[in-house]
């Protein structure tokens, strides 16, 4: 096998590492975990099989939005092998939001639903049994009476007058940012920019939720220890974040929990929520036995939090020569029924707009919206990726409308070192212009001299 490994350009980098004796850079270094992977000895959480293991399966909401009129677990308890059922009343602190660790408020999500359900698949009753088959049969046997409430699935409908309130802990269908209904960025005078522009273009972009779909589903095994601590084998992407949140939910001292993790069978952001550990810990505490709670494939697809759906309107004021003089972005980011990580993702979106362009007048409104959809959370560049799709689609469409080379449109507006960004930060180390010039050269896209001479080091 010949590695496609580029040798270090020793001539170019000579001044940087004169006298250095690199032992790693420029050599092939085997991954530290690869030997375990190729021999099958890497221990994923489900490979831990303590004796006396119990299995936990969840009875989930069959409604998008409903009041719980009655929950009857007697048939579940009658299934041979079922040892225990858990409801919200069994959870010491049944209300949380994962980002409370960084002071995000309010707590808005129950571990097990109590008064109402806000999305399809929301957990209501946990069934703990001697075998997985018994736990599944028990979960299926739970009876729930619902009083249906009108659901809302569209971000703009959720913000309209008279929309059903999804999450009473917020009291309205959006997250409040320091007293504001959205995360805002303001620079210059956008209306003046539109007035000055030769063209004003406004288009809409939207995306569906995207499931991370790791091959290993979300799960954990909790093993009570003789000293009273709980050892949590988990595939979480965020061991300490999970430990702290779980301790708050259990109303336990942090040092009573131990997480064994770091081996994740694919996560891609989908395993940063704290959704299996708390209830599995409670089950282990009340039974005194090890408990495994692992999602089936359908659960992974239906209820594990995806990348948020987004709807983004971009309105640009553009001069005839392609310079963008005003940009207004209105984004609606679908948190689903609960906050999870989306208030943060929405802030990331606001921080990312208006893209890597220097525009003198900017107005950005990013709304974190609650709907009766599966709660959304992290996924590879969340808050940013869909925004980039919208921004760069917008740039292409503007170029098409102006009959202009889309690369030249971008070069003309690209930020340069020293430019003031909409967030009042001076741009440094931008190099966007040089990257585009090099990319154009590599694909044989011809640029006139004027564009080839541009430099991010020169003030515009």
């Amino acid at each position: 096998m010949s590695y496609r490994l580029s040798p270090i350009d020793t001539q170019y980098f000579a001044p940087d590492h004169e006298g250095d004796d690199f032992t790693v850079i420029g050599s092939v270094v085997t991954r530290s975990d690869a030997l375990g992977h190729v021999t099958g000895r890497t221990e994923f959480f489900e490979d831990v099989r303590p004796s006396g293991l119990l299995h936990l399966k969840m009875h989930r909401s069959t409604r998008h939005h409903a009041r719980l009129a009655g929950v009857d677990s007697s048939a579940a308890l009658a299934v041979p092998g079922v040892v225990r059922v858990l409801t919200g009343a069994d959870i010491p602190n049944n209300l949380y939001t994962p980002l409370k660790l960084i002071n995000v408020e309010p707590d808005d999500e129950p571990i097990l639903a109590v008064d109402k359900v806000r999305y399809l698949g929301e957990p209501i009753v946990a069934v703990v049994a001697e075998t997985e088959a018994a736990a599944l049969a028990g979960a299926a046997a739970v009876r729930v009476d619902y009083v249906d409430l009108p659901p809302v699935f569209d971000v703009e409908e959720a913000l309209a007058d008279g929309a059903p309130i999804v999450n009473e802990y917020h009291g309205k269908n959006y997250f409040t940012y320091e007293g504001h209904h959205c995360r805002r960025v303001r620079l210059g005078d956008v209306d003046a920019g539109f007035a000055e522009a030769d063209h004003v273009f406004e288009w809409r972009y939207q995306s569906s939720p995207i499931e991370q779909a790791p091959v290993e589903t979300t799960g954990c095994t909790v093993v009570p220890q003789p000293d009273g601590r709980l050892r949590i084998h988990s595939d979480t992407q965020a061991c300490f974040f999970t430990l702290d949140n779980t301790a708050l939910i259990l109303e336990s001292d942090f040092n009573k929990l131990r997480i064994v993790g770091g081996t994740v069978g694919g996560g891609f952001g989908g395993k940063v929520d704290v959704v299996v550990e708390p209830v599995a810990c409670v089950a282990a505490m009340v039974t005194g036995r090890p408990v495994k709670f692992v999602y089936g494939r359908h659960e992974e697809m239906q209820v594990s939090s995806p990348r948020a759906a987004e709807r983004i309107y971009i309105k640009d004021g553009v001069l005839a020569d392609g310079r963008i003089v005003a940009r207004q972005v209105t984004a609606y980011i679908d948190a689903g029924a609960y906050s999870r990580h989306t208030p943060y993702g929405t802030t990331k979106a606001a921080a990312h707009f208006p893209g890597p362009y220097t525009i003198p007048n900017v107005r950005i409104d990013c709304h974190c919206v609650y709907t009766n959809r599966t709660p959304s959370s992290a996924m590879r560049g969340f808050g940013v990726t869909i925004g980039d799709f919208a921004l760069e689609s917008q740039m292409d469409r503007i170029a098409r409308e102006l009959g202009m080379d889309p690369l030249r449109l971008r070069l003309k507006n690209a930020y340069r070192d020293g430019d003031m960004k909409a967030h009042r930060k001076r741009a440094e180390g931008t190099a966007l212009i040089e990257v585009m010039q090099k990319a154009a050269e590599l694909v044989g896209h011809e640029l006139p001299d004027e564009y080839r001479r541009m430099s991010s080091l020169e003030a515009r």
């Binding site: 975990d33 190729v38 290993e216 069978g265």
Partner: protein, 158 residues
């Protein structure tokens, strides 16, 4: 519930155990025999992470009720290098960076072993078809295909 005695020859060792009705070959390997290399990813035959060889053929072990293969020979990743010396496929996966999170790796390697046993000199297209039922969600397919081709060439020149 009528559990049955099942006999399997697993990685050249006779194993005899009791299986509850509905126990899959995957469940028996992992939970009864403690052979956890094969993974449960989807439990519906769609991801390939539980692929093992039954009488030499790769199958998703999550789809096989273990009573129905009573008496069969089963090969899992644990049996590929019992003494610790990696075989060509393992060595190629290791050295060619064909693993990321590692969860799909046992199924990938067993599927590759079956391919190379049948076809020692596969084309790239044949490798792609052979692993078309193995999902690598880290999407490291290129190095995986390269590693299988590399393993074939290592084995041919061994």
């Amino acid at each position: 519930m009528a559990s049955k005695i099942v006999t399997l020859r697993v990685n050249d060792r006779e194993e005899e155990f009791l299986a509850r009705p509905g126990t899959t070959l995957l469940g028996a390997l992992r939970d009864t025999l403690g052979l956890t290399a094969a993974k449960r990813g989807c439990a519906q035959g769609a991801c390939g992470s539980c692929n093992v060889l039954v009488d030499g053929k790769p199958v998703p072990s999550c789809l096989v009720p273990v009573e129905t293969v009573d008496g069969a020979a089963v090969a899992t990743l644990e049996g590929v290098a019992p003494t610790g010396d990696l075989d060509e496929v393992q060595a190629a996966f290791l050295e060619d960076f064909a693993t990321q999170c590692g969860f799909c790796t046992p199924g990938m390697i067993m599927t590759a072993e079956a391919l190379l046993a049948e076809n020692p000199d596969p084309t790239r297209a044949e490798v792609v078809e052979a692993i078309s039922g193995n999902v690598c969600r880290c999407t490291g397919y290129e190095p995986i295909v390269n590693a299988i081709l590399d393993a074939a060439s290592r084995r041919r020149s061994a």
